[in-house]
């Protein structure tokens, strides 16, 4: 077990280091090493960002629900949930770094924010969320920190206070009280990060795949599907499956399953509307999903449905819980990725061309940004379609960030008193 764990940590460390190397390589060569180009200017990083925002939300929703809706079953995992919230909020911000052409100039976000743009808002809500979830986590853990301290590597134990039993009980009470007060801030923030993130995309009328009111609710439901799944996984790592946490897991599983179904409902509801009119950019975006991207679409639908099925059917089987969680993660990740191709590959500037008895929408091609190919195998400079597949570098960087997050989680749960002291 221990050996296994160590191997996993080592493996993750290797992936994280590779990711870092890949990022340095990207910094050195420019974003040319990604497979994004002018006609398709956001890719895996942005998809992952949207995904992380989703997963981040789940954490605080879970822990705040304890206090807001008195979902006591969730109490035992509150700290783990809050910790994942913090980590994924950080992850969401970190994964945007490699997407930025000039990370050295990020300070401009602070000195020249443009509040008409959704990005500064997203930055604000995300960082607030990260801060709040950090405070939340701290608040929940404080009594135990005070009791036992935190053992930092190379440094030793810190934060330990001499406490009496009553003192500790009082601290526990206080922490509960504070958490109760934080919950009404945390939950709306959790909702907000999705909403704002969705707005980053949904406000873009140039991109009919995103444009409109349905994206934010879909984002939230997607978040409520993945968030609990992440918490389930995290809790299983920390606590393992204990019978007395059965209720906790069942509740999480149900929340995820119901959200997943709601999400699919909203998704298909949007499809229906696009489909019915049977024409125009909205429809063509949909058509793309069912033609060129049918495989990816199948993945999202099948895995999300599968997870819902598993969660509802076997909420008490730890193995199935893991399967269910992984399956919703895969499904929602595919869903996130699918945000991009129909948005970019329906070129906004289309001109209707009247043929004999029909009108054909012709997409105005865009310069790729590079001369590709060679004399023996020339490739187009202006394209109206870009088959985006993430490059090795993008995959490595993304995997690196993911590995880093997991590592951080594993390390933190070792250091921090994430387990509630059994009373």
């Amino acid at each position: 077990m221990e050996k296994n764990y160590n191997n996993i940590v080592k493996g993750l460390a290797v992936v994280a280091v590779l990711g870092l190397v890949a990022y340095i390589y990207q910094l050195y060569s420019g974003l040319i090493v990604t497979n994004m180009r002018n006609p398709f200017s956001w890719g895996l990083y942005v998809a992952t960002w949207a995904f992380y925002v989703g997963t981040a939300a789940g954490g605080l929703v879970v822990s705040s629900a304890i206090y807001l809706f008195n979902a006591r079953q969730l109490k035992p995992i509150a700290r783990v949930a809050a910790l994942t919230a913090f980590l994924f909020a950080m992850g969401a911000m970190i994964i945007l770094l490699p997407d930025i052409g000039r990370p050295d100039r990020l300070y401009n976000m602070i000195i020249h924010p443009n509040f008409k743009s959704m990005l500064p808002w997203d930055f604000i809500v995300l960082s607030s969320y990260a801060v709040v979830s950090a405070i939340y986590t701290y608040t929940l853990m404080y009594p135990d920190i005070a009791a036992k301290g935190v053992k930092l590597p190379f440094y030793g134990v810190v934060g330990r206070k001499e406490l009496t039993e009553e003192g500790l009980a009082r601290l526990r009470e206080e922490s509960d009280k504070k958490a109760k007060r934080l919950a009404p801030i945390a939950l709306p923030l959790a909702i907000l990060i999705h909403t704002v993130t969705a707005w980053v995309l949904a406000t873009q009328f140039a991109r009919s795949w995103w444009y409109g009111g349905v994206l934010a609710p879909t984002f939230i439901s997607a978040a409520l599907a993945t968030g609990p799944a992440i918490v389930i996984l995290a809790s299983l790592v920390v606590f393992g499956y204990k019978d007395k946490m059965e209720g906790t897991y069942t509740l999480l599983a149900k929340v995820s399953a119901v959200s997943a179904i709601i999400m699919l409902f909203m998704y298909y509801n949007d499809f229906m509307i696009r489909f019915w009119w049977h024409n125009g950019r909205d429809f063509d975006a949909l058509k793309l999903v069912f033609t060129k991207y049918i495989f990816l679409h199948a993945v999202e639908v099948i895995f999300i449905l599968l997870s819902a099925y598993i969660f509802i059917k076997y909420p008490k089987d730890p193995k199935k819980l893991v399967q269910g969680s992984l399956s919703v993660i895969v499904g929602v990740f595919a869903h996130r990725f699918l945000l991009l191709p129909p948005a970019y590959n329906i070129i906004p500037l289309r001109v209707p061309v009247i043929m004999h008895n029909e009108t054909v929408e012709w997409s105005y091609p865009i310069a790729v940004g590079q001369i590709r190919g060679n004399l023996n195998n020339p490739e187009k400079v202006f394209v109206a379609y870009w088959s985006y597949v993430p490059s090795i570098v993008e995959i490595a960087v993304t995997a690196g960030v993911m590995a880093f997050l997991v590592l951080a989680f594993l390390k933190l749960v070792q250091i921090l008193p994430v387990k509630e002291v059994e009373q």
């Binding site: 020249h112 020339p378 400079v381």
Partner: protein, 902 residues
């Protein structure tokens, strides 16, 4: 936008500066940069297109940063001139293929292995070899050629000066290119004529026959649009839909090379509906002249018993190149001799009817006026139905085409001024001359000559010499020897009976061509017919190949010596084009790059070194006169002797010598350039002194308005050389030299393509279904800009083969497939483009790709040096001599197989 918004913006601006700190404030002061460091020099873009567009080179720190259209033409409508190629010329001047220094071949021919050498070594080596060849085979075995004189009278003149100095053979590039529209000398006795493009706007009807103006005349194309905006009509006759067709009111798709039939169908309507200008044709054309029915020759005045005396008397008063013909005067009811030297008419000739005439020998023969013969012929052969059958792309559309011909005939017969543009690609067919003669008939019958916006124009490269240049081009007025390119390429034809029967005047070096010296051209791509250039090089038949270019073209790769010249932003030169009648200067905006030298210097050095090596006392004594000012020559020699010679000094001297040569040509150029000086040209373009109102370039103005005889002079040929083409002094539609009678081409007529050429080889007709039309590309001027990276980008780096979708489907070819166009002579690769506007039996490849881009193939391996007998009977270089027919090429297209992709 109210004040609030403005204030808001201001507020933002202040906020920005405050936040970012003082750095921005400092920079704000130096906002415009140091504009003073930029200077502009005017020069003229002049590759082998008719553009000659004025550009200001934006020079910064000794390099050209950008090019800005000069837009300084006094006729404002011309501004701006320029195009995508001219704008990106910098990619060639500074590009990776730019030559740096002289090269001598070390590898095999065409392999591209060279050693870089000093100028002295290169020039001495070249001179040595040339002298050897001149001694061994005679000086005429050295052939030289320059492309399109109009783009550089000074530097191109220098090679001509050198050629005349040593009696080399000169190849006239105009016929080499196929740019000569042979109908011009046949019909009007001139090399060519045309409207300046500004005049297009004055036409009320423009009929374009296979000239892709929107692509091949980019800076002029707007005048067609303007003509439409002013209510003019514009139709495009072309087998293929083109951007020009897109702009036209009507596109008439016809079968390849059936324009003559179409034109004669139009003439049929004009004749039958009496839409012709009878007075006009009586005065200016041979329509009233009588033709003997017994021998199909025009009746000569001296043959007619009643006129022989008068003819003899007149003979002494007319130049030797004229002939006296006969018309029937309706006023006096007798025969009359129209004066070939004056078109003023005091008689009323019959243009119809049949007459009996008694000859000096007592024989009576029947005669008919040309008009009568022509009418009979056309009424018989070219009824709209018959024509429709020839030209309509589909059997099912014959009716529609019949109606169309009638409709268009009426339009062309009535709407004036009518202007016909006869495209180069259209006349670059074996029977291109017949098509031109038929089209000329339309404008002539309707009196559309000599007036603004009227006429027939052909526009090829910028070719036509606008005034006498001999003072510079011919060394001490020495005449050149000449050589016809096709007769050089087509050895076997020179042994045929046909050739020996008709050839009267065309010279050919007795030992063949042993050395080839050329500049401003890329013959190993552009003129490599049936691979013959390359074969002559590989087999060693050519012993020396010398090229001058500013970049490493395919032809440079095939050369033994490459002498690096310069482009038009590095030298002085004089240019003149046909699309607008402005004389312009090329001026050095920068020093020549690397060791490149203005060509005038290169050829001067060769002249000198050859003189020394041949020990030709006479030339040696006067060699300093190679430069107009011998002092300059001596100055450089002096510097060499005392060791103060530098490349820079040689350049300065060469630039001055160029200006001197330009000044000399202007001074000795006669009335067209009278009072035009180099200093004026340094300021900007100056219009030629044309003898028309507002100096507009209108064709045959003096003939039509002042009744002067045809033809006007075609420079540089003296009038007697060209006037013999139209001995009657009139526009001639009936040609009676033997060859025309033998081929049945006395009158304009239609002959199907390929019948007299490709299809004579058994099996070809069945095997090769397409006509391969190698039209000109938007992205190149011929092969120039082939390697322009910006142009390559716009084409996705792909040479293409355009095919009709149906034809492609039959061959299982899909959009984007790599295909091979081939025939029994050669092949070329390209990527298939399916074009619904393409004729079903046409494959298009846009010429001009360097072989490097064609996986080593060459489009010109498919073409053939066809020679038409009618082109042999006279020889005036560049005016009447065999000319190339690029499009007379049958081919088939298939998917390319076994071609390396990666």
């Amino acid at each position: 936008m109210g004040v609030t918004r403005r204030d808001f913006l201001k507020y933002c601006a202040i906020g920005t500066a405050a936040v970012a700190g003082s750095r921005y404030f400092q920079l704000a002061h130096s906002m415009q940069g140091d504009n003073a460091a930029i200077s502009y020099i005017r020069s003229t873009c002049s590759p082998n297109c008719t553009g000659a567009c004025g550009f200001n080179a934006m020079v910064y720190k000794g390099r050209i940063a950008s090019l800005v259209q000069a837009a300084d033409y006094p006729d404002k409508e011309y501004n701006p001139r320029g195009c995508l190629r001219g704008q990106s010329m910098l990619n060639l001047i500074y590009g990776p293929d730019r030559l740096k220094q002289p090269l001598i071949r070390v590898g095999k021919r065409g392999e591209g292995k060279f050693k870089a050498v000093s100028w002295d070594e290169a020039l001495d080596y070249t001179a040595e070899k040339l002298v050897e060849i001149m001694k061994k085979y005679g000086p005429e075995s050295v052939a030289s050629t320059i492309q399109v004189p109009g783009t550089g009278y000074v530097n191109k003149g220098a090679l001509m000066r050198l050629s005349s100095m040593y009696d080399w053979s000169v190849i006239h590039a105009y016929t080499m290119n196929g740019d000569l529209p042979a109908f011009w000398p046949m019909t009007f006795g001139v090399q060519t004529e045309e409207l300046e493009s500004l005049e297009w706007a004055n036409s009320k009807y423009t009929a374009v026959f296979g000239s892709n103006i929107m692509v091949t005349r980019v800076p002029d194309a707007k005048f067609l649009n303007i003509s439409r905006e002013r209510g003019g009509k514009f139709i495009m006759v072309d087998p293929n839909y083109t951007p020009t067709a897109a702009k036209a009111d009507e596109w008439v798709q016809i079968n390849s090379s059936t324009d003559a039939a179409f034109a004669l169908g139009i003439v049929y309507v004009i004749l039958n509906e009496k839409l012709y200008d009878e007075e006009f044709i009586k005065t200016y054309t041979d329509m009233p002249l009588l033709v003997r029915l017994d021998n199909n020759k025009r009746l000569l005045a001296r043959e007619v018993r009643s006129l022989a005396g008068a003819a003899a008397a007149m003979k002494g008063r007319i130049p030797e190149y004229r002939e006296l013909y006969v018309a029937y005067n309706k006023k006096t009811k007798g025969f009359v001799i129209p004066n070939p030297e004056n078109l003023k008419r005091d008689f009323d000739p019959a243009i119809e009817g049949e007459f009996d005439v008694e000859l000096v020998n007592g024989k009576r023969v029947k005669v008919k006026p040309v008009f009568q013969l022509m009418s009979e012929f056309i009424n018989k052969e070219y009824t709209p139905e018959k024509v429709a059958r020839i030209i309509a792309p589909e059997e099912a559309r014959v009716r529609e085409y019949t109606d169309k011909i009638i409709k268009l005939g009426r339009e062309m017969g009535t709407i004036k001024p009518l202007h016909i543009v006869y495209g180069a690609s259209n006349y670059q067919w074996f029977h291109g001359d017949l098509k031109g003669r038929a089209l000329s008939l339309i404008v002539t019958l309707t009196g559309n000559l000599g007036k603004p916006g009227a006429g027939i124009s052909t526009y090829a490269g910028q070719y036509r010499v606008r005034w006498p240049l001999g003072a510079w081009w011919a060394y001490k007025s020495k005449a050149y020897k000449w050589l016809n390119y096709l007769l050089w390429m087509n050895d076997e034809y020179r042994n045929t009976e046909e050739f020996n029967k008709y050839n009267k005047e065309i010279p050919h070096p007795k030992n063949g061509v042993k050395a080839f010296v050329f500049g401003w051209g890329n013959p190993f791509d552009q003129h490599n017919m049936s691979n013959r250039m390359r074969e002559k090089a590989t087999k060693g038949e050519l012993e020396l190949i010398v090229s001058t270019d500013f970049q490493m073209s395919t032809s440079c790769l095939w050369s033994d010596v490459v002498l690096p010249g310069v482009a038009w932003y590095e030298k002085y030169d004089l240019t003149a084009t046909v699309s607008h009648p402005y004389v312009q200067l090329q001026q050095p905006a920068i020093e020549p790059l690397f060791q490149c030298m203005p060509e005038i210097w290169i050829f001067k050095e060769l002249a000198k070194r050859i003189a020394i090596k041949t020990e030709n006392e006479e030339i040696l004594n006067s060699i300093a006169d190679f430069y107009v000012n011998p002092e300059l020559f001596k100055k450089e020699e002096e510097a060499r002797k005392n060791g103060s010679w530098t490349l820079k000094l040689a350049r300065e001297i060469a630039q001055q010598a160029s200006l001197d040569a330009a000044a000399l040509m202007l001074k000795t150029g006669g009335p067209q350039v009278q009072d035009i000086t180099v200093d004026m040209l340094k300021q900007g373009p100056v219009r030629l002194n044309l003898p028309t109102p507002n100096k507009r370039q209108i064709m045959f103005y003096e003939q039509i308005m002042e009744l002067q005889p045809f033809p006007p002079v075609s420079y540089p040929a003296p009038l007697p050389k060209t006037a013999r083409f139209v001995k009657s002094g009139r526009v001639e539609f009936h040609k009676d030299e033997d060859v025309f009678i033998d081929t049945g081409e006395t009158l304009p007529m239609h002959k199907d393509p390929f019948v007299d050429t490709e299809n004579k080889t058994p099996g070809v007709k069945e095997k090769y279904k397409f006509a391969l039309i190698t039209r000109n590309a938007l992205y190149r001027v011929h092969s120039t800009h082939s390697n322009n990276i910006t142009m390559l980008e716009l084409q996705d780096l792909k040479p293409k083969v355009w095919l009709n979708p149906r034809a492609a489907a039959e061959r299982n070819i899909k959009e984007g497939d790599l295909v091979e166009a081939y025939n029994n002579r050669g092949k070329v690769y390209g990527y298939a483009v399916l074009d619904p506007g393409l004729h079903y039996r046409v494959a298009i490849f846009e010429e001009g790709w360097w072989s490097r881009y064609l996986k080593g193939t060459s489009y010109n391996t498919l073409t053939y040096p066809w020679i038409k007998a009618a082109h042999l009977i006279y020889f005036v270089p560049g005016m009447w001599e065999p000319t190339t027919a690029w499009n007379e090429t049958a081919c088939e297209v298939k998917k390319a197989e076994g071609v390396k992709h990666a």
